[in-house]
């Protein structure tokens, strides 16, 4: 055979012929002869290259160069430059269009290719292609060199386990079928891939059918089977067709049929099509279906290895299991066993789907972590959202939360976590997923697919679905979750086959990992993710911690009914002036208008509404006094809200505040350029008008104690202490002069006692709001340079983007991926030594973890260092509670008081001295003492604190009236405001830009930076609201839910 240097393929399909490919062909041949290259370069015709609209086209191998749109005149140049001198002619070049394979892309790092090694590389309809890739070499080896026992030994040694999901060792299964003394024996390949979204087996059958056939022939030889069935669902027509062609070709080559490869071994097979019942993936149901019966499982034992299809010994494995066999035989068991973990060897294909950047088919070695699969291979969560859970194992698998991301993927570890390997479906869910809804979704599938044979599965799964639907509709009753859980266990225990035994798994795993979400649905009638329609009046309301009815007041503002709007607002949030200025507006993040253009500027419209009544004092309506007194410790947003709500219920409330002014963090944490003092104190005065007494300069532990409050007749105490203690950096030199902690310096600024920062260089450590507030305040106090040091990157900063941008505008310098390791200087600070950080894996917060780079230290000169890396609640009062002994007359009384104080306060447990340990009703471990706000949830926002204030008041009220409280049954007030705006007229309306005073003006003092809306702007903006609440109203009506 002549050896050619180059092969030129000329496309001769009708389109290219029309465009003159015949002439190209002839001209090429002629020119090559002229150039004397005809013995080096071969010209061939090919039926199709694939870009004929650009034709005529030719393909040059082995260069893989494609020329398109060439004319006869170009041929001499091509021959001269390319075929003679080897230089590609760029002018005529047309790169081969890559057909993007959306299902299976090139292997990413950390991936392997064993089962998928030939997929997309070979022509599945041509056995020659497979033969060229060592095809049927394993079979030849088995038939010529190995006894059946040896084959089983080899497969056992490889550690291959059933890839259908249950993970039964393949070698052992084969051994059982071989041991049964009954003939004939059968072989089944389970290709009934029924998991929604799973297509691993389909790709193997469509792309590399011979690997499965070869694996089956080897298995047949090992167990002594004479006939095989591939049970493939009829929904896979391409797979069925490809398989049939492959079987025919194998038969033609003597690889199937009598005397395979000339040996005394007969085996043949056929494809049986299933009607697509999910349960037919269960082996006994599959066998029934092959026999032509209704696809229903029957109890095992007897197992198929003893009595299978036609009541004869049968071995059943999954497509992927068989596809692994030739490779194991060829490369040896140790090669295969080198991949994976101790008990789970080899590789596994997974179909990744859901909220992930790169969905598709992957193959990874077992033992890889979920984190690697989701973030390194899957590219992380789509649209930069947070990770919530991954559902593994198909509809009968489990949902695993963030804590399980570092679990290795192997059979045992997944089962222990409450999920399962399954056939390899992996659905990734972002943080806007409702887990109750997900459980409902999977139950909908399994109850539909139940064969109906056994009672627990037939009726039980249906009942489970009904219960979940009830919960999703907001009709769940206390006790329903327990009933649901119990029923799930019973269905699992008593069902006949794997379907019923696995169907409740999504419910149980979500109950295990996301029980709070179920409880929110049942007890608070709230779907935290805003997915369950019956419970989500509007995303904005649902997302707001205090569930402020924004669509209602927006609608009223649109109509000019500002007072009514404010009244609605105050039902759930008494601080409209404050929140109109400083609320992070979670509502706007989820606003549906934002999916079209921009979210409604809810906060600014609210601010306008509140500003209309700036000078009109509000006297909250209160119930007549019930004579009971409640003490609130801490006059921050949580404490004040709780005080107001209790006062409105008729309680006499006293608020004890340590600082000279009330307001907590609103006063001492938020700088006045963001929140001016006037609106702040005017809204606090509203609380006083409800009859609440606020006593300032009263410190817990010094001026009073829990015991003294009880002695003074307070029936309940609400601890709303806030989080005013700074976390320490924990680096050498932190005690040096010039180191101020973030929250302390903000407090000092508010008190007018700030250190002189004029002309100084300030370095702030941290990425939160406090860090930004300190930075921006520093400018206003005359600092020369302001630096922010943050160990992660900008997109990871918890501070709000608007604030970060404003700080940048004002000239703050950011140092990302840097972390302080030492404070430099003598007594006083002269600088800070920083160490550079590198990014690591994504951590549980969805951000990249950071690792220090040793030796990368560098110094930043500064005069003031402000660590602002977080706050915790100050529990100092608990340790050294002082008793005002002088008020007690007798020695005995003093002793008793001391003992009681100590004992009682000791009873209040904390979470590692950072927050209070509270129950579902905000009750601390000491009866009658409740806690709320940052002291419970850690540092959060004003609106979070208000929400807790609302709820703790309900808890206290319930406790005082009913003597016990288990949960807060918080009921959102619902307002039905008619739509008066023609929304279509506002289709093109846009959100107004927020106006700020110029940066140079800002730095001169602490005047408010942000400008409000005028009436026209506010009313027009309010009219852009899509009124999601009306849709909910209609839904409720249609579904007859209320």
């Amino acid at each position: 055979m002549a050896n050619y240097r180059l092969h030129i393929l000329v496309c001769m399909d009708p389109v290219c012929r029309e465009k003159g490919s015949q002439q190209i062909l002839e001209s090429l041949k002629k020119e090559l002869i002229t150039a004397g290259l005809d013995d080096e370069v071969r010209v061939m015709e090919t039926p199709h290259i694939g870009g004929c609209e650009q034709g005529p086209e030719i393909m040059v191998y082995p260069d893989e160069v494609r020329y398109a749109g060439i004319a006869v005149e170009d041929i001499p140049e091509l021959v001269e430059k390319h075929f003679l001198k080897g230089r590609v002619v760029p002018r005529l070049l047309s790169p081969l269009e890559e057909h993007e394979d959306k299902e299976l892309s090139a292997p990413k790092p950390k991936e392997v290719r064993v089962v998928l090694r030939n997929c997309g590389k070979i022509d599945p309809d041509n056995i020659e292609d497979y033969l060229a890739e060592d095809g049927y070499q394993a079979l030849a080896k088995v038939l010529t060199e190995m006894t059946p026992e040896k084959v089983i030994e080899e497969v056992t040694a490889s550690g291959l386990r059933g890839r259908g999901g249950a993970g039964f060792p393949a070698g052992r299964k084969w051994g059982l079928a071989r041991a049964t003394q009954d003939w004939p024996k059968y072989l089944i390949c389970n290709a009934d891939e029924g998991d929604p979204g799973a297509f691993m087996n389909r790709r193997v059958l469509e792309g590399d059918p011979h690997s499965v056939i070869e694996g089956m022939i080897i298995a047949a030889y090992a167990i002594g089977a004479s006939y095989g069935y591939v049970y493939c669902r009829a929904e896979y027509p391409v797979a069925v067709k490809t398989l049939r062609i492959a079987i025919r070709q194998a038969r033609e080559l003597g690889l199937l049929g009598k005397n395979i490869m000339g040996k005394d071994f007969d085996f043949d097979m056929e494809v049986r099509m299933g009607a697509g019942a999910f349960v037919c993936g269960e082996e006994t149901a599959l066998i029934a279906s092959i026999e032509g019966k209704r696809g229903e499982p029957h109890p095992r034992p007897p197992f198929p290895a003893v009595k299978g299809v036609w009541n004869k010994p049968t071995n059943n494995n999954n497509v992927e299991t068989y596809a692994n066999i030739p490779q194991i035989i060829l490369n040896g068991a140790p090669w295969f066993a080198a991949m994976g973990t101790e008990k789970s060897k080899g590789s596994k294909t997974f179909a990744i789907a859901g909220d992930v950047e790169h969905p598709g088919l992957i193959e990874v070695p077992l033992g890889i972590t979920l984190r690697e699969v989701i973030y390194d291979i899957g590219g992380g969560i789509k649209d930069g959202k947070g990770y919530k859970a991954v559902q593994i194992g198909g509809p009968m698998g489990g949902c695993l939360p963030v804590e399980y991301l570092d679990r290795p993927i192997d059979y045992e570890s997944l089962t222990a976590a409450g999920a399962m390997m399954g056939s390899g479906g992996m659905v990734i869910m972002d943080d806007e997923t409702c887990m109750v809804d997900i459980a409902r979704f999977f139950m909908e599938f399994t109850q539909e697919e139940s064969c109906g044979k056994c009672t627990p599965c037939r009726v039980g799964t249906h009942r489970i679905l009904e219960m979940l639907q009830t919960i999703c509709d907001g009709k769940g009753q206390p006790g329903d979750i327990e009933k649901l859980e119990d029923l799930c266990h019973e269905v699992i225990r008593n069902s006949l086959c794997g379907l019923g035994q696995g169907a409740p798994n999504p419910v149980l795993s979500t109950l295990k990992h996301f029980r709070a979400e179920y409880e929110a649905h049942v007890y608070e009638k709230r779907c935290p993710a805003g997915v369950c329609k019956g419970l989500t009046r509007a995303f904005c309301i649902n997302t707001c911690p205090a569930n402020v009815d924004s669509p209602a007041y927006l609608a009223l503002i649109a109509q000019g009914r500002f007072a009514e709007g404010l009244e609605i607002h105050r039902k759930t949030n008494p601080f409209a002036l404050i929140c109109g200025r400083v609320c992070p507006a979670f509502c706007e993040n989820r606003c549906r208008r934002g999916l079209i253009d921009d979210a409604i500027s809810i906060r600014m419209v609210k601010r306008f509404m509140a500003d209309q009544f700036y000078n009109e004092p509000w006297t909250p309506v209160c119930a007549p006094s019930n004579g009971k007194r409640v003490a609130v410790v801490g006059a921050g947003p949580a404490g004040l809200t709780a005080a107001l709500r209790l006062a409105q219920r008729g309680y006499g409330v006293t608020v004890f505040e340590k600082m000279p002014q009330p307001g907590g963090m609103m006063t001492y944490g938020i700088p006045s350029y963001r929140l001016p003092r006037e609106p702040l104190f005017s809204e606090i005065d509203n609380i006083r008008r409800a009859g609440v007494e606020i006593r300032c300069n009263q410190a817990l532990g010094t001026d009073f104690s829990i015991a003294s409050l009880k002695d003074d007749g307070y029936k309940a105490i609400v601890m709303a202490l806030g989080a005013h203690k700074s976390r320490r950096l924990g680096v050498p030199g932190e005690e040096k002069q010039g180191v101020y902690h973030g929250i302390d310096i903000l407090r000092e600024i508010a008190l007018g006692e700030a250190p002189d920062l004029t002309g100084k260089r300030i370095a702030i450590v941290g990425g939160g709001d406090v860090a930004i507030d300190v930075a921006r305040s520093s400018w206003r106090l005359g600092a020369a340079e302001v630096h922010i040091i943050y160990r992660r990157e900008k997109e990871d900063m918890p501070a709000h983007l608007e604030e970060i941008t404003a700080a940048e505008e004002e000239g703050v310098q950011f140092h990302f991926l840097s972390n302080p390791v030492e404070v430099l200087g003598g007594d006083a600070i002269t600088g800070v030594r920083l160490q550079q950080q590198r990014r690591g894996d994504v951590d549980n917060s969805g951000r990249r973890s950071v690792h220090s780079i040793p030796g990368s230290e560098f110094d930043l000169a500064c005069d003031v260092l402000v660590p602002a890396i977080g706050q915790i609640t100050d529990f100092g009062w608990q340790a050294d509670a002082k008793v005002e002994t002088e008020q007690l007359d007798t020695h005995l009384a003093i002793l008793q008081h001391k003992r009681r104080t100590r004992d009682e306060e000791k009873q209040i447990e904390t979470n590692r001295l950072s927050t209070f340990k509270v129950g579902l009703a905000f009750e601390t471990t000491l009866p009658g003492v409740f806690a709320a706000g940052d002291a419970v949830q850690g540092p959060a926002t004003v609106i979070d604190a208000i929400a807790q204030g609302n709820k703790v008041a309900i808890a206290v009220h319930t406790w005082l009236t009913q003597g016990k409280v288990e949960r807060v049954l918080y009921k959102q007030p619902v307002h039905m405001i008619n739509q008066t705006v023609d929304i279509l007229a506002y289709a093109d309306a846009r959100r107004p830009q927020t106006q700020f005073i110029p940066a140079e003006l800002r730095l001169s003092g602490f005047q408010e930076v942000e400008k409000g809306y005028d009436e026209t702007q506010a009313r027009e903006e309010a009219k852009r609201c899509l009124r999601c609440d009306l849709e909910w109203q209609q839904y409720i009506k249609d579904k007859n839910l209320q």
Partner: protein, 364 residues
């Protein structure tokens, strides 16, 4: 032989025995619904689950082969709870019409619910789903609302009658038996043998002719042999207030067990039929010694006593034999007669009348 322990008791059974059967040997009754000794076991209803040491989940004892060294618990607290849950699930969509149900008192579901003290759970009451009395079959009343999907009807029709009328349709919660391809029973080649009714554990399939006539505890059951043919099937006549209101088959019948044909089960209406002859009748001219009319209306039938009637018959037979010879007479006997009766008729024809002209309808 296989040795196993059931509730701590040693028991020895031959290979191939199920745990359910083995339990029966030591006097342990495991409740069943879908299982029936006449039919092959499917393990579907799960009422018979038992705990087996070493198995992850409870096992259906009706299908579980006893194996050496097995240790079985049939009434552990967990198993009792399982059974109760299964019954609750079955009852949750079951119509609450036990008060008026025909099979009240002979319903296996009712008995088990009573035994396990099952309360119908409130959360499951979702009303009925099918039309009551949905099939036009004249003998079988179909009310799928009462069906518990045990498939005993399907198996009875398939394995005993061999007609394959019933089959399961749909999936999941909607699974239910249908005749043929969801047509009606007669269209699905039903012979109305009533085997499906006999094996139905609830009131889903019941006897249409006797619907509302009386319940099991109200009737006296009289064992008798079928008069329709010579097979000798036995069954119980259900007698209420002196009237046969139903026929029920019984496993105690040595020839047929629970099986009957349409005549045996439903052909009892002749018993109280107004047209039924209960005394002999003869034409009036024979009693009055007159001549037979050759034209016009024949002489009317009149009741008479047996002796008169038999005398007349004997006389007429004698006359015929005398005038026309013995072979002018033919005798036809009936499958409704017993063997003994037919034997006697044979003797009568050949020896008394002197003719070999004797035959038998020999069919049902």
């Amino acid at each position: 032989m296989i040795n196993l322990k059931i509730n701590g008791k040693e028991v020895q059974v031959p290979e191939g025995t199920t745990v359910l059967q083995a339990a029966g040997q030591v006097g342990v009754t495991i409740p069943t619904l879908c299982n029936h000794p006449d039919l092959h076991a499917t393990g579907g209803c799960r009422i018979c689950v038992v705990d087996v040491k070493g198995w992850r989940t409870p096992m259906a004892s009706c299908t579980l082969p006893a194996s050496e060294g097995m240790e079985v618990e049939t009434h552990s607290p967990a198993i009792l709870k399982s059974r109760k849950t299964i019954l609750e699930l079955l009852l949750a969509n079951h119509p609450r019409d036990c008060l008026t149900c025909d099979v009240g008192g002979s319903c296996e579901l009712q008995d088990l619910s009573y035994e396990y003290q099952v309360q119908v759970p409130e959360w499951g009451t979702k009303g009925t789903r099918y039309i009551a009395d949905s099939d036009p079959n004249p003998f079988v009343r179909v009310d799928m609302n009462r069906c518990i999907q045990c498939t005993r009807c399907v198996r009875a029709c398939t394995e005993i009658q061999g007609r394959f009328v019933w089959t399961m349709a749909e999936r999941g919660f909607d699974t239910h038996p249908v005749p043929g391809a969801d047509t009606d029973m007669l269209d699905a080649r039903c012979e109305s043998c009533g085997a499906c009714v006999a094996y139905c554990p609830t009131g889903a399939l019941s006897d249409k002719m006797s619907y509302g006539q009386g319940r099991t505890h109200q009737v006296k059951k009289v064992m008798t042999t079928c008069t329709f043919c010579g097979v000798g099937c036995q069954f119980e006549l259900n007698v209420k207030d002196g009237r046969v209101i139903r026929v029920t088959s019984t496993e105690e019948a040595p020839v047929n067990g629970n099986h009957l044909c349409v005549k045996g089960r439903y052909g009892y209406d002749f018993i109280h039929h107004p047209d039924r002859l209960v005394k002999p009748k003869v034409r009036r001219y024979l009693i009055e010694g007159k001549k037979k009319k050759t034209k016009g209306k024949p002489w009317e039938w009149v009741e008479t006593d047996w002796d008169t009637a038999l005398d007349l018959a004997a006389r007429k037979l004698h006359d015929v034999r005398t005038n026309f010879g013995a072979d002018s007479i033919g005798v036809l006997t009936s499958a409704k007669c017993t063997n003994e009766e037919n034997y006697v008729m044979n003797k009568f024809a050949r020896q008394v009348l002197g003719t070999n002209n004797i035959d038998h309808c020999a069919r049902l």
